[in-house]
């Protein structure tokens, strides 16, 4: 039975597997006994019970009478919402900083370096606290600071211009926009086997993108409120501002911190990508008579983004996990909602399971999507090598 190496390996693994399963069973039993001793029930029946507590920020209608599954959904949506805004802003800042960092002009390059070093070497949680302290120390609404005719900074939050719309229109416009955007992404990633497909697929992508902007815009314009301005800048009424979109200090602090901190890391990644683009590529583009902007937009940036996409994926997953920082300022993300639910319901094990499953699914979905993009935009052959 133990004569060959193969057999020994098989039985050794069988023993390890059996030991692990036995340990897991014992653990579950011990926890079960400990919970029963204190009269706590287990199972997922609590998801249908109403919560009895409110959350500070929600994208969907929610009242304390709603069941637990709904508050978990609120938390998940908030995490995705914060992640989407934070990651997009961080990417934009990162690309800008990366371009500054590779500038031949020493003053410009120094500004990029100073930004990266300053923000990358301070813990994110501290930056969240810092920005929160800044946002709640802004002047009161009566002495509000106005930036660019419409962005109003107050201690009650940041007010952005909003649109005066009939109810339901905003949701419909968002659905049209996101749907066409998704269609464009799918079309862009489809395989292009024939020459015909190589011509009509990019056109279809462009048509979808144009349709997304125009369609959503037209829908919003059609749904405007009669006898009211289309774009509503927040205005002071009594002690606070009305109208427009209000970002609470919590959300504003989180978005600022994640975007600035993420921007520093993504800037370094983008810079490494630019450095990986061969000189020959740039010189060839210049020899073809392309101007500096075209060389950047058509040659350097696309090649750099391709070469950094795997690293960027890791950074995105890392930043998405950083949204759990919401708990330090009281933003109702998935983690805060779950920790409140544990306090209120006592269903510890189930809720921790949901939390971990939620992050596993979110992160793996993000990574899978990025890997799909990476595979589809990868250049065949050896062009990217230097």
């Amino acid at each position: 039975m133990f004569q060959t190496r193969h057999q020994r390996a098989f039985w050794l693994q069988a023993a390890i597997g059996a030991a692990l399963i036995a340990a897991a069973l014992l653990l579950v039993r011990a926890i079960h006994i400990s919970l029963e001793a204190r009269g706590l029930s287990s199972g997922f029946a609590f998801l249908e019970r109403s919560t009895g507590w409110d959350v500070a920020f929600s994208l969907i209608p929610y009242t304390p009478a709603d069941p637990y599954w709904r508050v978990l959904l609120v938390g998940l949506l908030n995490t995705v919402f914060l992640g989407a805004i934070g990651l997009s802003l961080a990417t934009l800042i990162g690309i800008a900083v990366g371009i500054l960092r590779i500038s031949k002009n020493p003053v410009i390059a120094f500004l990029g370096t100073a930004y990266v070093e300053l923000l990358r070497n301070v813990p994110l949680i501290l930056q969240v606290f810092f920005w929160y302290a800044i946002f709640i120390h802004l002047p009161r609404p009566r002495e509000a600071v106005t930036v660019l005719e419409g962005i109003i900074l107050t201690s009650r939050g940041v007010f952005l211009p909003g649109l005066n719309l009939q109810p339901g229109i905003a949701l419909a416009a968002a659905a049209v926009f996101l749907g066409l955007l998704l269609a464009a992404l799918v079309l862009a990633l489809l395989p292009r086997p024939s020459i015909g497909a190589r011509i009509w697929l990019p056109r279809a992508v462009r048509a979808c993108l144009l349709g997304a902007v125009l369609g959503a815009g037209a829908l919003l314009w059609a749904g405007r409120m009669p006898e009211m301005p289309f774009i509503q800048v927040a205005y002071l009424k009594g002690l606070n501002f009305r109208g427009g979109i209000r970002l609470s200090p919590e959300l504003a602090a989180l978005i600022t911190a994640i975007a600035l901190y993420g921007g520093a890391f993504i800037g370094e990644i983008i810079r490494a990508g630019f450095l990986a683009v061969g000189h020959g590529q740039i010189e060839a583009a210049q020899a073809l008579g392309l101007g500096p902007w075209k060389v950047m937009a058509r040659v350097r940036l696309p090649l750099a983004l391709r070469s950094v996409l795997p690293t960027l994926t890791n950074q995105y997953v890392w930043l998405l996990k950083a949204t759990t920082m919401g708990i330090v300022v009281g933003f109702s993300d998935l983690f805060l909602v779950i920790s409140t639910a544990i306090n209120q319901s006592g269903q510890t094990l189930e809720l921790i399971g949901i939390l971990m499953a939620g992050f596993l699914i979110l992160n793996n979905a993000l990574a899978a999507a990025m890997n799909l993009v990476n595979r589809r935009i990868a250049l065949r052959g050896t062009q990217i090598r230097t």
């Binding site: 390996a9 050794l12 693994q13 390890i16 597997g17 692990l20 011990a30 926890i31 400990s34 919970l35 500038s103 031949k104 002009n105 020493p106 003053v107 410009i108 120094f110 500004l111 100073a114 070093e117 300053l118 990358r120 070497n121 301070v122 813990p123 994110l124 949680i125 501290l126 930056q127 606290f129 810092f130 302290a133 800044i134 120390h137 997953v317 996990k321 950083a322 759990t324 920082m325 708990i327 330090v328 983690f335 920790s339 544990i342 510890t348 094990l349 921790i352 939390l355 971990m356 992050f359 596993l360 992160n363 793996n364």
Partner: protein, 362 residues
């Protein structure tokens, strides 16, 4: 740039200017557009620097009661002056603060010493760190040699943050080596399980792991795994080990296969092969990413305040949170950020130095 000073004709026209002038011109003003960017960049940097200095130095109040700060336009550093002991030492007994300070310096000394390539041998490093750790515990806990006993719950501030960092690395590094080797094991079940554990931890936010160990575990199994601080350190170590294991694994995989085959041909068995041939080379190759991982984990230690550990950041919150100084939170955060910056920036500079040093050999 000392040549720039003196009576150099900086405004001399091109062509008959000095080499320094040509050099400066080609670097800062190669084309009109780039020259404009230089000027704009300098103006921006100057504007930021001027306002920062005005706030932090010229208009600032450095000592005195909170009332003195309320009238000042600049920063209120008086809060640091009044509360620095709380921030550095937490709730440690006041007359014993020198012990906390000494213990903190001891760890900084150990960290600094391990940066010297002369000590880079597993045996020497182990002796250094175990001796340092024992010295730290002796100083902080006391109870022997005439030092009064201070329970773990009273530890806090910067000393506690550095202690958590050191303990995390001390437990996490061997764990990382074990996980990396397990993931490369020839038994598929073992390799799969190690991979599952590493990837599972890597896709969870640190705070969920800390939360599960520090807050949830006592509810499910009261008394398991020691005090809250111990459980938090174990969670941090697990998190660190999952990331570090991948770094070590990539170091191992970057070695040419001939190394392991040669060691096999010499008749070395698995453990000697790993200890004498593979791991020393893998560590050397993995050194730059390891340093940046250490810098990241040093910053991540600040998260332990969420589960109620009285670390540097939590002490900072306490320093301004008690009534009279509550307007001065920005100053406290800037000060904490400065201390973190000094540590993490020197670590990352050291990593960059190592990277240059290793490239020289190639």
């Amino acid at each position: 740039m000392s040549e720039v000073s003196g009576d150099l004709p900086l405004d001399a026209p091109a062509g008959r200017g000095s080499a320094v002038y040509d050099d400066l011109k080609s670097r800062f003003f190669p084309t009109p557009l780039s020259g404009l960017a230089t000027l704009a960049g300098l103006a921006l940097a100057g504007w930021i620097l001027w306002h920062a200095l005005q706030w932090a130095l010229f208009d600032a109040v450095f000592t005195g009661p909170p009332e003195a700060c309320r009238e000042a336009a600049g920063a209120c550093w008086a809060v640091i002056h009044a509360r620095w002991r709380l921030m550095f030492f937490g709730l440690y007994p006041h007359e014993e603060h020198w012990r906390s300070a000494l213990a903190c310096l001891l760890f900084l000394g150990v960290i600094g010493a391990s940066c010297m390539p002369r000590l880079w041998q597993a045996g020497r490093l182990a002796v250094l760190w175990i001796a340092g750790f024992a010295g730290f515990l002796l100083l902080m806990r006391g109870g022997v040699l005439g030092l009064s006993y201070v329970p773990q719950e009273k530890w806090g501030g910067l000393t506690l943050s550095i202690f958590i960092f050191v303990a995390t690395v001390l437990i996490g590094m061997p764990l990382a080596v074990a996980l990396a080797l397990l993931r490369r094991a020839s038994l598929p079940l073992v390799a799969r399980l190690a991979g599952l554990l590493i990837d599972g931890i890597r896709s969870l936010p640190l705070i969920t792991i800390l939360f599960a160990l520090a807050v949830v575990l006592p509810i499910l199994a009261p008394g398991a795994l020691g005090s809250k601080l111990t459980r938090v350190i174990l969670g941090m170590a697990l998190f660190f080990a999952a990331y570090q294991a991948e770094i070590i694994r990539s170091g191992i995989q970057s070695l040419p296969a001939g190394q392991e085959e040669a060691a096999k041909a010499l008749g070395l068995h698995y453990w000697r092969r790993m200890a004498k041939v593979i791991l020393p080379q893998a560590f050397r190759r993995a050194l730059p990413p390891t340093i940046s991982q250490l810098a990241i984990i040093f910053m991540e230690v600040a998260m332990v305040m969420i589960v109620g550990i009285f670390d540097f950041l939590a002490s900072g919150n306490a320093a301004y949170g008690s009534g009279e100084w509550n307007f001065a939170n920005v100053e406290v955060y800037v000060f904490i950020a400065l201390v973190y910056f000094v540590f993490v920036f020197s670590l990352s500079r050291y990593g960059a130095y190592l990277e240059r040093r290793m490239r020289v050999g190639k």
